[in-house]
């Protein structure tokens, strides 16, 4: 017993070092095995609150750019409203049949309070949380295209897994023919992401538009992603295809969070399949 105490006495700093290092590595490994970083994240009260305060100052510097982006989006939406088909004319249609309308996706606005695009695995912090109806696994987009998926949510803040992350696997497809693939990032350049698992019979051209596939319960179909930069075929399969993002991930501010109102229903249905 005496010897054990002597041993601890002698190596107490080394043991402390070892203990703390194990704790740190435990956090790191937890963080890398996706969806487990419940403790170390910037959605909590202190860090989220501080980011909120700082971003309210930084906001002024990007006002001009954000304004022109929002005006652009408004004009596009107004033009869409003006595109009325001929048959919906008041002469032929006096009443509106409300049963023809139903809502599947709901949009909520939010602001990014902390942006990150330099690390291997990037997370963003946004200023909305559970009180605003945000839950994990919701789509985050802006008018230029996809940004990420919500991850950890606290009362007033949430973190978002950026598409610039090893662990984001988003289902996407080619716009002109419905071939599906999944989107990842190799960590090299924040302007390009990679498209994997595209079937080899897909016909590609450089410059083709990629949009979200809508196969998952998170993203609606048709959210913009980017265009094909170049592609290679090796052994009759596609090598990872470089996609240039429409979004400049280094300067994003105002975002939309998309709630899928049928998510519960889809999940329950799929769970029944697995039984």
């Amino acid at each position: 017993m005496q010897q054990i105490f002597k041993f601890i006495e002698k190596y107490r700093y080394f043991l402390l070092f070892l203990l703390l290092e194990i704790v740190a590595l435990f956090f790191t490994i937890n963080h890398h095995s996706y969806h487990k970083s419940k403790f170390i994240n910037s959605a909590n009260f202190v860090t989220g609150g501080m980011y909120k305060r700082i971003s309210s100052i930084n906001e002024f510097f990007s006002l001009k750019k954000e304004n022109s982006r929002l005006v652009e989006e408004n004009i596009r939406l107004k033009n869409l409203l003006e595109l009325t088909p001929y048959k919906i004319d008041s002469i032929f249609n006096e009443s509106v049949d409300t049963s023809l309308y139903y809502q599947k996706f709901k949009f909520t606005s939010a602001k990014i309070t902390n942006n990150s695009f330099k690390s291997r695995n990037n997370f963003l912090t946004i200023n909305k949380g559970t009180v605003n109806g945000i839950t994990p696994e919701m789509a985050v987009v802006n008018s230029h295209g996809i940004i990420g998926i919500t991850h950890n949510v606290s009362k007033h803040n949430a973190t978002v897994i950026s598409i610039l992350n090893n662990y984001s696997q988003i289902n996407v497809k080619l716009k002109n023919n419905d071939h599906f693939g999944s989107l990842t990032w190799n960590g090299k350049d924040y302007k390009t992401v990679q498209l994997l698992d595209l079937p080899r019979q897909a016909q590609l051209k450089v410059g083709d538009t990629i949009i979200t596939g809508g196969k998952s319960a998170i993203f609606p179909e048709g959210i913009l992603v980017g265009t094909i930069k170049d592609f290679k075929i090796n052994n009759n399969t596609f090598e990872p295809i470089d996609i240039v993002l429409f979004n400049d991930m280094s300067s994003i501010k105002n975002i939309n969070i998309i709630t899928n109102l049928e998510k519960q229903e889809i999940k329950e249905l799929e769970a029944r399949n697995n039984e």
Binding site: R12, Y13, F14, L16, F17, L20, E21, V23, A24, L25, F26, F27, T28, I29, N30, H31, H32, S37, I40, N41, S42, N44, V46, T47, Y51, I54, N114, S116, F117, K118, S119, R120, N121, F123, T125, T159, G187, K188, Y190, S250
Partner: protein, 167 residues
Amino acid sequence: MNDFIKNIIWLFLLVLLQVLIFNNINLFGYTNPLIYVVFVFYYPLKKEKGAFLFLSFLLGLFIDFFSNSGGIHAAATLFIAYMRLPLLTSILNKTDFDYHLFNIRSISFIKAFSFISIQVLIHHLIVFSLDYFSFSDFGKIISKTITTSGLSIVLILIGIVLFTKKK
């Protein structure tokens, strides 16, 4: 006790400086210096070693909280904190090593420079290895370590020269 509180205030200042200013520099697109390691160089040697290790761990953990990175910075900072004394004794000769009055400005520039560079390189290597977490990204880890370390070392040296008195 007074010194201890001073060190804790110093720690929080470094966290804020790192998170609010140096994490947003984005030189050449995405190089951000990690200057908070200066805490490890400036914490007095004569102080209790256990508290020093624990504070270094906390410093890293605070940075992790802000940058959503698990325990990466905590692991790296703790490691260089533990390595500090062995490294110093091997760099300095026994003759010019006064344990109680040690200050980074009291040793020759070459020795201080090599001490800081080795510590920063080890720290950054651990940070980026744990960040990428795969052997296939080895080249990327090394290139990122070297570019970011270069920037960090330059900034830390400038900071030390400007803001501390020569003894």
